[in-house]
Amino acid sequence: MQRFINDPDNIVDETVIGFVKAHPERVRQDENNPRVVISKHAPVKGKVGIVTGGGAGHEPAFMGYIGKNMVDAVAVGELFSSPTAKSFKDAILAADGGAGVAVLYGNYAGDNMNVKMAKKMAKKDGVVIQTVVANDDVCSAPIEEREKRRGVAGEIFMWKIGSAKAAQGASLDEVCQSAQKAIDNCRSVGVGLGPCTLPAVGHPNFEIEPGTMEVGIGHHGEPGILVAKLGSANDIADQMVKIVLDDHNLAQGSEVVVLVSGLGATAVNEQYVLYARMQEQITARGLKIHKAFVGNYFTSLEMVGVTLTILAVDDELKQLLDMPTDCPGF
């Protein structure tokens, strides 16, 4: 595949520079740490700061969710690799408006370690920190071991809801409770049709045989629960809805928000083809769709594939989700 690359070793730095140049009215780069991107509005005095971060290659995540009523600061790592503890710490300090900082992130080994160290460092600067860890990826571990599940596109809802709560002037405890409720109410599944390549490595590190699909694939190509024969869009949509809703166990009449995200190299029109069927399947199960998002919201370099995320909402979550924001990702 042909790609737009200067030097594979500089690709993340150049990504961040381009992002900041493209959105100067919304974000700025930390003066002392080029891997920290901060909202133009941050820090807001008296407001709980919202921080996230993760490896690059998932754009528009994570930086794209910085904005008013959204995330305040983001730490950016190498491609598919956790940001440094220092970057998480610098993001925490940048977001701190004196009311504490909520770090809302994705439950990957590197992130867990670097956030843990950043927390220790930032505490010395007098910042009060709490964390909420996303674990919406159904196929990454059985339900009995939900704490082992990874965070995928459901993280966007966790950020949106936690950030909106913070914007309302809620306390750090309340912000984290709402973010936790959002992720608890969230389930996701991915299906991969084609692998992705880290430019510095030069070849894909996993394979998907032509004519097959990886059901339950993770955000970096982690294997799913089965390799199946590639089906029609409707067949795949049916399987995805079934995996998510079988795990979710929602009461008839529940309201949900649906997010279909491309993984980088799947045409948006195909994502709408999938959504057309998913919408039928979800409503056929007696659920009511409050809102839907379809597009490239949380990608994995140039992987061919999609994720489906279903968030169960009540009045509180609906109100927080519907609060206007101006971040580049939405």
């Binding site: 070793d9 490896g55 790592g77 190498e78 491609l79 598919f80 690799s81 956790s82 940001p83 440094t84 503890a85 220092k86 970057s87 990957y108 080994a109 590197g110 370690m113 670097n114 843990k116 160290m117 990454s140 880290l198 510095a200 490595v201 070849h203 590190n205 993770g218 970096h220 982690e222 294997p223």
Partner: protein, 212 residues
Amino acid sequence: MTSFKNAGGGDIIIDVAKIIVENKAYLSEIDGKIGDGDHGVNMAKGFGRAADRLADSDSSLDEAMSVLSDILMSEIGGSMGPLYGMMFADMAECIEGQDDIDAALFLDMLTAGVDGVQEIGGAKLGDKTLLDCLIAAKEAFAASVENGETFDVSLEALKESAVVGRDGTIDMIAKIGRAARLGERSRGVVDAGATSCCLILNILSDGVLKRL
């Protein structure tokens, strides 16, 4: 000799860094079998920067380990940044201010390194991580010293056991990190972290042996 000088020991870390950089492609290749394939890339980036910054600095061993640790923790990230960052930070702290390092102090240093990795990473023996190499090496060294063997003989035992520990990961199923998602499919492949750890311990031991 029963000990070596901390002063000037920074050159050992430069040698360690060079070996990691030389093995960049190999480490990435084995990581690619059950991981992202970027272990060599990220390790070489961090260790290479450390070698550049330490060149001609005439650092002590603990100073050099601190420089390496700072780079790993503040510039590399991922999983290896904090794991090796903590290992070298805690080892440096253990020997800081000491003029001579004998076998007993070297063992304390290794133990501090093991504890540092375990505290931040939370992995256990048998989880298919760098700890399977590090703990095996440390325990072999400890047993040898306890048996009254000399520092140099004990370092040879350490080197041998590091290799055994590394190769022991081949038959293990990954329990932590990204490879854990592979379950049974992670068996049959050597762990990339254990492989880099084995390189580090071997070059570290060789550097000490030369100075004894």
